[in-house]
């Protein structure tokens, strides 16, 4: 294998080494982490154009071929998520630097912001390692280990803020993630017992309906649904995301939830799609519908901004899952690629929203929505970023969310599934309600209270704006990522009876 082939390894190893060095050399931890984030962005760029040139690639780690060794694979969906993680990684690292410098100047407890920053960087780098490892890995047990890396580092990041509310949320998050990985592991054991092979490619070839596979898929899906906080099992997400530090909430809502969802997506559409009955897809659809409706209603009842955004994550995740029956019944690969498009759009928007919420909280000192009147006066860029991210959540035309919802609606109407179409539209109405409720506070209501003086926070506002504009840009240049998804079809043709768009 040529030396140039080793680019596939860089997205996992750059953050890994950065985590080690950041834990050792604490003073330079920001620069090491930023360098690693940029390096993995570069590596992902190289991987994307190599993928467009000569299609999916596989890389046997340690030189041992799949049945024995582990191999890393790049295909369409994996690359979309890798690009998303790399871009979000650079954005969140910049925002975190600004966030911590501001907190260190005005600490609530002397020494606490230093502790938080010193331990944020190694944990954040390990989180990136786990995410990139999950997207690249082609071995079902290795996916379990990456899930654990993501779960433990997410719980550690959630517990970083030290308040007792966030400690309780972090402990519950850790136990839920333990429960999820254990049931996923039991699914892996059933797969190994029925097929005797761990590699995803070989499993895909050997996928035949057997009782063991149904049990394995049920256990794995329940575990991953628990970790992705889909409707009935979302109780742990709002407190964990709302009580964490601002950059940590952005990481949790934007990237961590997408990691376990991507694994669910790969299992359902890539590996075991011929094995699963139609009823299973409809069950997933109903879970998604429940998440959209129930989450949307809950969002309207929240009084705190960060809790509002956390509950909106619960409702938006419903969109990702409601696409399962559409993609299966509709037959066209449109709904299927819309899922990942929606995931990346939602990630950028949610990261921008949590960043702006963090900036508002730093300046206003609280995040009660009722008292946030007139933030526009002294934080214009942040308010605009929040509004732009809201546009993507609602799904108004220029944004990526619009493209994804449009493709889902078309598939639903083509497949005559009126129920899912109605739920999709209802979700958009609920999203409009809760976005404009906050935007009204930020923009429209004239500030009647004294304006807070301190404004200079350069590194805090621009990353939020960039991520919000990215989610809008995603809609404008939709064909490129969609071409990436279409080019990467390994098995989709087998699954989709109808032709592509």
């Amino acid at each position: 294998m040529a030396f140039a082939d080793s680019w596939i390894v860089v997205p996992v190893f750059a953050p890994l080494t950065a985590a080690l060095l950041a834990f050792l050399v604490r003073r330079a931890s920001f620069f090491i982490s930023l360098a690693a984030a940029c390096l993995s962005l570069l590596a992902v760029a190289v991987l994307v154009n190599r993928f467009l040139v000569n299609g999916p690639a596989a890389y046997a780690v340690g030189g041992w071929d799949p049945p024995l060794g582990i191999c890393l694979r790049t295909d369409g969906p994996a690359l979309i998520m890798l690009v998303l993680t790399a871009v979000a990684g650079v954005g969140i690292s910049l925002y975190a630097k600004g966030y911590f410098t501001l907190r260190i100047e005005r600490p609530s407890r002397v020494g606490r912001p230093e502790r938080q920053e010193r331990f944020f960087w190694p944990l954040w780098m390990l989180q990136l390692t786990g995410l990139n490892g999950l997207y690249l890995s082609g071995d079902i047990f290795n996916l379990y280990v990456t899930l654990e890396v993501i779960g433990v580092s997410a719980a550690a990041l959630a517990a970083l803020s030290g308040k007792s509310a966030s400690l309780i949320a972090a402990l519950r998050y850790l136990l839920v993630s333990l429960l999820g990985s254990m049931s996923y592991l039991l699914g892996v054991v059933f797969v190994y017992k029925t097929y005797g092979v761990l590699d995803l490619g070989l499993l895909q070839a050997a996928a035949a309906p057997a009782p063991g596979v149904i049990a394995a898929m049920a256990l794995m899906s329940v575990g991953l649904l628990l970790k992705t906080a889909i409707f009935p099992m979302h109780f742990w997400l709002p407190p964990a995301h709302a009580n964490a530090l601002a950059p940590v909430s952005a990481i949790l809502s934007g990237l961590v939830v997408k990691g376990s969802f991507f694994l669910l997506f790969r299992l359902w559409f890539d590996i075991f799609s011929p094995v699963l009955p139609a009823a299973a897809f409809n069950l997933m659809g109903s879970l998604g519908a429940g998440a959209i409706i129930w989450g949307g209603v809950q969002v309207l009842r929240q009084q705190r901004l960060k809790l509002l955004i956390a509950y909106s994550t619960v409702s938006q995740l419903g969109y990702l899952v409601i696409a399962f029956p559409l993609a299966f019944a509709g037959g066209s690969s449109q709904a299927w690629s819309a899922v990942l498009f929606m995931a990346s759009g939602h990630a950028c928007a949610k990261i921008a929203m949590f960043m702006s919420a963090g900036t508002i909280m730093l300046h206003a000192g609280h995040d009660r929505i009722r008292d946030l009147a007139g933030i526009r006066a002294y934080l214009p860029v942040t308010a605009f970023a929040y509004a732009a991210a809201g546009v993507n959540l609602i799904g108004l035309p220029p944004s990526g969310g619009f493209i994804a919802k449009w493709m889902l609606l078309i598939t639903a109407l083509a497949g005559h599934q009126w129920l899912w179409a109605v739920v999709l539209l209802a979700g958009s109405f609920l999203a409009t309600a809760y976005v404009f409720r906050v935007v009204a506070q930020l923009f429209v209501i004239p500030p009647d209270k004294p304006v807070i003086t301190r404004r200079r926070a350069g590194l805090l506002e621009w990353p939020a704006l960039i991520m919000a504009l990215l989610s809008l840009l995603l809609g404008l240049m939709a064909p490129y990522p969609l071409r990436l998804l279409e080019a990467g079809q390994i098995v989709r043709t087998a699954m989709t009876m109808g032709g592509g768009p």
């Binding site: 280990v145 719980a155 400690l167 402990l171 850790l174 136990l175 254990m182 039991l186 190994y192």
Partner: protein, 108 residues
């Protein structure tokens, strides 16, 4: 015979651990349930690939179980330290509230 026995025991241990993790209120007992659950899964994994008649040993499940044991001890340790810190934070809160109430009584 031993394969069936240990597989069934492993699954029952998984279910016991699951029940404990969901039902018991004390954080320590939840973590104990988590450990019993992972022990059950590993027992089932090795039992699934143990063939008493041919007697040869499949090394891959053993490597998986080793990785699983190390990962589960790491999660247990983190959960224990978290629940200790949680208890400490709760006590500090209680002590502060008691002090404030005492000041209010002294104030009246």
């Amino acid at each position: 015979m031993t394969t069936i026995l240990y597989s069934v025991t492993g699954l029952l241990l998984f279910v016991f651990g699951l029940f404990a993790l969901i039902v018991c209120p004390h954080p320590l007992r939840k973590i104990l349930g988590g450990n019993v659950m992972s022990a059950g899964i590993f027992l089932f994994l090795v039992a699934a690939s143990y063939r008493a008649d041919t007697g040869e040993i499949d090394a891959v499940p053993q490597a998986m179980v080793l990785t699983g044991i190390v990962v589960s001890v790491c999660i247990t340790a983190v959960a224990l330290v978290l629940s200790t810190r949680l208890q400490q934070a709760a006590d500090q809160g209680a002590r502060r509230r008691r002090k404030r109430r005492r000041e209010e009584d002294a104030g009246e």
